[in-house]
């Protein structure tokens, strides 16, 4: 397979400011190489990441999503990541029930010291999503008005 036919997934990472963002920064300053498929969105805390943002990412063309923040007990705001953890447990279950491909959302804890873990996380996620292929199943539905859309016509 020639290089230009390899599928390059678009991945959005929602990360917290205090741990994972700093960790990703460390990856860079440590000169560790990792896949360039990821676009990072920085949040104050994983507790601040609205679950709808994950779905919006898919609707707007993302093939995979990474959500990452401080390890349990390390939250800058004490409990933001605990709240987030509960939210993801519930959200993942709902998405699975609805048939959303939950393999495309990768949750992780990456601390400010874990530059290499960030690189691994991104690399692994990219290769996994690459194997899954583009998330056209979701993206197709995002544009419906063109099709008229009548009863039962998705």
């Amino acid at each position: 397979m020639s290089s230009n036919t390899v599928f390059e997934p678009k991945i959005i990472a929602f990360v917290c400011n205090w741990c994972t963002y700093a960790g990703a920064d460390l990856t860079g300053t440590s000169r560790l190489k990792y896949a360039t498929n990821v676009k990072i969105v920085r949040f104050p805390c994983t507790g601040r990441i609205d679950f709808l943002l994950l779905l919006k990412s898919f609707a707007q063309g993302a093939d995979g999503v990474i959500v990452s923040g401080c390890h349990p007990n390390d939250c800058h705001y004490t409990s933001g990541n605990f709240h987030a953890r509960r939210r993801w447990i519930a959200f993942r279950a709902i998405l699975d029930l609805m048939g959303v491909d939950i393999r495309r959302i990768q949750y992780s804890w990456v601390s400010a010291a874990e530059g290499s873990k960030w690189a691994d996380l991104v690399n692994n996620t990219v290769s996994e999503i690459r194997a899954l292929g583009p998330y056209t199943e979701y993206q197709q539905v995002a544009d419906y008005l063109e099709k008229g859309g009548y009863n039962g016509e998705a």
Binding site: L52, R86, A90, V141
Partner: protein, 266 residues
Amino acid sequence: MEKLRGRAAALLADGSVALIIGYEEGTKRPRPLFCRNSESTKKLIFDSRCINNLAVYITKKELVGKDRIAVTASISTLRSILQLYVENQLSEEKLLVLTVDLNGELREFVTFDEISAYVAQFELKRGEREQEILSKIEGMNREERWKFWLGEMSHCFKCYACRSACPLCYCSKCVVEVNRPQWINPWPAPLANMEWHINRAMHMVGRCTACGACGDACPVGIPIDLITRKMMKDMAPEFGYIPGQPAKQGNALSSWKLDDREQFIR
């Protein structure tokens, strides 16, 4: 029935309550009735056909005002009342709850603890239709589930009957009506409908009491109650709740435990 009507008339006559929310015969099945005078209590009925969840009315200020009211409650309604109480939406001083128990005896609850003790006798049962669709869904692979729900969602025209019928959807401004930012497109379309129902389910995690009012209300027959019901069942053990009982320890998504379990965070 006569006991209920008599008691209701007496409560209104002596001014104990200003309004009694109950059921009357409707076109095809019983429907909600609002009694403000003894005369209207003659129309009151209460039996297993009464399926509207009347708890939806007791948080509506324009209906109940500041007065003390009474409500005739099915088990589902009682569960919703308890959850509303846990969420600080009700006070004991303003609400008298009536029900008819399995022996046909009229019961009156003045405190929420009494309701809690009464409700604890009843196990949350899964309806036939619910069981049937759930088994169908459980037999599907992920792609089939996605297709199934997308097909169902394509029928949704966003009348929000599900939201209106739910006693726990009492927000004065719903997330779909917020437009800065516009989280969910307000027009009906499969994806926007999907987002709305996922959102609704998320907002119901650990709160839904499985009354099924949303599913009953849906004019286009989407089994939306399954989503919140299944979530309630699946999430209850995760977060230490008892299905059908109010979340006294706080709502699932506004509380947490150190040892919340998951296997998916790397």
